[in-house]
């Protein structure tokens, strides 16, 4: 049987076992892309509350003050940083720039993402 498209093969995209660091970049980009797409839909639903009037929107805003939603927002920021910074690496590599150093670039940019996540996290949870 040929390696026809199948759910099992798709799941292999998210299986980092026995693979190198490049696969982590590959997986992170896909997971964060799915997360950001989901967030975009949720964001549009949230904005849709505006059409229902001020009271509906205020009620929604009160709901998202919940710490769980704050954690969700933190995840959105993390996904944005990881996806964006990893995307810069991929874009540069795709133009033949820094391809030989893609591993170092990935590690450096992910370190930068961690710093960014920590700063945003501190701002959201400690100094808000």
């Amino acid at each position: 049987m040929k390696n026809a498209s199948s759910p099992q093969n798709f799941l292999r995209w998210f299986d980092p076992r026995y693979r190198q660091i490049g696969t982590w970049g590959f997986i992170l980009n896909r997971v964060t892309a799915l997360g950001l797409t989901l967030y975009l839909f949720m964001h549009l639903i949230a904005l849709g509350q505006l059409a229902k009037g001020a009271a509906a929107y205020d009620g929604f805003i009160a709901l998202v003050e919940n710490p769980l939603f704050k954690l969700g927002e933190m995840l959105v920021i993390a996904a944005g940083l990881i996806h964006g910074l990893n995307g810069i690496r991929i874009a540069l590599n795709s133009f033949g720039i820094g391809t030989r150093y893609q591993r170092v670039m990935f590690l450096g940019l992910m370190a930068l993402a961690v710093v960014g996540i920590a700063i945003f996290g501190a701002k959201m949870f400690l100094f808000s």
């Binding site: 049987m1 390696n3 292999r12 995209w13 190198q20 490049g22 970049g25 590959f26 590599n93 391809t99």
Partner: protein, 249 residues
């Protein structure tokens, strides 16, 4: 007196339409032997029905690519010591992303046909054989030729996450061959061949191909370099800049 280890080879078996299953073979080995030696020992002393590919035993033919403990290896140059320990196990599986014919033998026909379409040449003048960023004075004399680095083992295609989900993707080995051939010939048709949905744009930069390549081909680098060439060609074409086309030898 050579050191002796007792290890267990857990080999994936599949004949015909069978569901793949594993079979364990405890064997005694010298840890400085190669994984292929262990597989051959299983065939010679335990089960003559075991099928696997091999030929040269010195990393020239590319026939013995297999997955060893989950990682693509050229088993004729992978020492047992480097992948397990005394009393340990070695999981031997066929390469992924190729149809399995029998046990560890996969059908690499599609890859060979694509390499043919890319006019892959197994021999090239010395300056064209290595990677361009390698500074090797020994490869400067164009009057001499040698075998190119790619041994068509298929390890890169097995490791590629994109080849996992589509059999129509050309794959790292073929795109690397196109890049190599283009640098040698400047044939524009090679860029057109790579510039497609199943060509150079399908790569998603996991670089697993370069990580597992046993032969210094660095397909990941070559795919990205090929993209640059394709983009350059597209830009020149957009602005109507003539590119001198060359014909393959």
């Amino acid at each position: 007196m050579s050191e002796k280890w007792n290890i267990t080879l857990i080999i994936t078996r599949k004949k015909g339409d069978e569901t793949p299953h594993t079979q364990a073979f405890p064997i005694e080995v010298d840890p400085d032997e190669y994984v292929l030696d262990g597989v051959e020992r299983v065939w010679a002393f335990h089960d003559r029905s075991l099928t696997f590919r091999h030929a040269c035993h010195h990393s020239t033919c590319g026939a013995c690519g297999m997955r060893v403990n989950g990682v693509e290896k050229l088993t004729c140059i992978t020492t047992i010591r480097s992948v397990t320990q005394n009393g340990g196990t070695l999981r031997i599986e066929p390469l992924r992303n190729f149809p399995v014919i029998s046990d560890l033998v996969v059908d690499m026909g599609a890859m060979y046909l694509r390499l043919d379409a890319a006019h892959f040449s197994q021999v090239a003048p010395l300056p064209d054989t290595g990677l361009p960023f390698e500074d090797d004075p020994a490869t400067e004399d164009p009057q001499f030729e040698r075998l190119v680095d790619c041994i068509e083992c298929g390890c890169c295609i097995s490791a590629c996450p994109i080849a996992t989900t589509t059999s129509t993707y050309m794959g790292p080995a073929v795109l690397a061959a196109i890049e190599h051939r283009y640098r040698e010939t400047s044939d524009i048709s090679l860029l057109n061949l790579a510039d497609g949905e199943d060509g150079v744009w399908r790569c998603h930069s996991a670089f697993e191909c370069s990580a597992v390549c046993p032969s210094n081909v660095d397909p990941g680098w070559r795919i990205m370099n090929l993209r640059r060439k394709v983009i350059g060609h597209r830009v020149r074409r957009f602005f109507g800049i003539q590119t001198q086309e060359k014909v393959l030898r």
